[in-house]
């Protein structure tokens, strides 16, 4: 590990929030629970949303479903990322060399890029108006679901390496 990286990780591990969790198992359990709650909200919203966009449950109206589930997923994502970064700061030196963590970080970036692509493209808004989902939106929805499930799997794997 390079000296610069080690210095950065040392700094991360010594911010007051990390110090607190390093010394308090109880606080750690609460933050860990909040991280899992974030995952639950994110996956619980994004899987049905992506399946609807991919072509299931066509009787459910998109203008109702898409904004609602998108906001729920965004809330879950914000919580999961904030709590995840906090948990990372407890033992950053261990996590950066953990292959499952590295995989998770890469998959997370792909999943976030996919969100930017899906919501940045006018195709999604057009689908809400017309009621028909174009192939691009559908493929990005399927990619989204697979990526988030892969992020979940890689994340749960961290403790087993």
């Amino acid at each position: 590990m390079s000296e610069v990286l080690t210095a950065v990780l040392d700094a991360i591990a010594s911010w007051p929030g990390a110090r607190w969790l390093q010394g308090s198992d109880t606080a750690y359990v609460f933050v860990n629970t909040a991280h899992i709650l974030g995952l639950g909200l994110l996956l619980g919203a994004i899987v049905p949303l992506d399946l609807r966009l991919a072509g299931l449950w066509r009787q459910v109206p998109l203008p109702v479903l898409v904004p609602f589930l998108t906001r729920a997923a965004a809330l879950g994502l914000a919580l999961a990322v904030a709590m995840g970064l906090w948990l990372f700061s407890v033992r950053p030196h261990d996590y950066v060399i953990n292959p499952a963590f590295q995989c998770k970080a890469g998959l997370l970036l792909l999943a976030l890029g996919n969100i930017v692509w899906q919501h940045g493209s006018p195709a999604l808004a057009r689908s809400l108006h017309t009621g028909t989902v174009c192939t691009g939106v559908r493929l990005r929805a399927i990619a989204s679901m697979l990526l988030w499930l892969a992020v979940l799997l890689a994340g749960r794997w961290i403790g087993f390496l």
Binding site: Y28, V29, V90, L110, A143, F160
Partner: protein, 136 residues
């Protein structure tokens, strides 16, 4: 716009597929199954003697780095935070440089200097992480 979007989309799909494949490979390789459970560890117990190079009491798993007589740096997983506390071992028990004896199960992969402690001994005192598993 469409001409631009098509190759980008394909490129991202390929990238995603490669990342998923990479994950699958890493995850199925599984040669270093870590601190949860015992299936990754050898069923025989061994004893490691050395000096403590690093102590981490941070959750989710307290751990030590122990330098053996031959210079090998071992990662030693202790019990979970509550088990470690019940053993009597805490942040003030030992210091870097102290001699330590670790009884436990080492990783099945002989390349990995990694073991899970059932008992550690520092200064003539035993700290039993998994009392029911200790076999001499």
């Amino acid at each position: 716009m469409k001409d631009f979007a098509l190759p980008t989309r394909r490129a991202l799909c390929m990238q995603g597929a490669r990342a998923l494949l990479g994950t699958a490979l890493v995850l199925t390789a599984g040669h270093a199954m870590g601190h949860h459970g015992w299936s990754w560890a050898d069923s025989e117990q061994t004893t490691l003697e050395g000096r403590i190079a690093h102590i981490s009491m941070a959750p989710p798993h307290p751990s030590l780095v122990v330098t053996a007589a031959d210079g090998g740096r071992w990662k030693v997983d202790l019990g979970n935070p509550a088990q470690t506390e019940r053993s009597g071992f805490n942040a003030a028990t030992a210091q870097v440089g102290d001699a330590v004896t670790v009884r436990g199960n080492r990783n099945k992969d002989p390349q990995q200097l990694h073991m899970k402690a059932v008992r550690i001994s520092v200064g003539g005192k035993h700290y039993d992480m998994y009392p029911e598993r200790i076999r001499d």
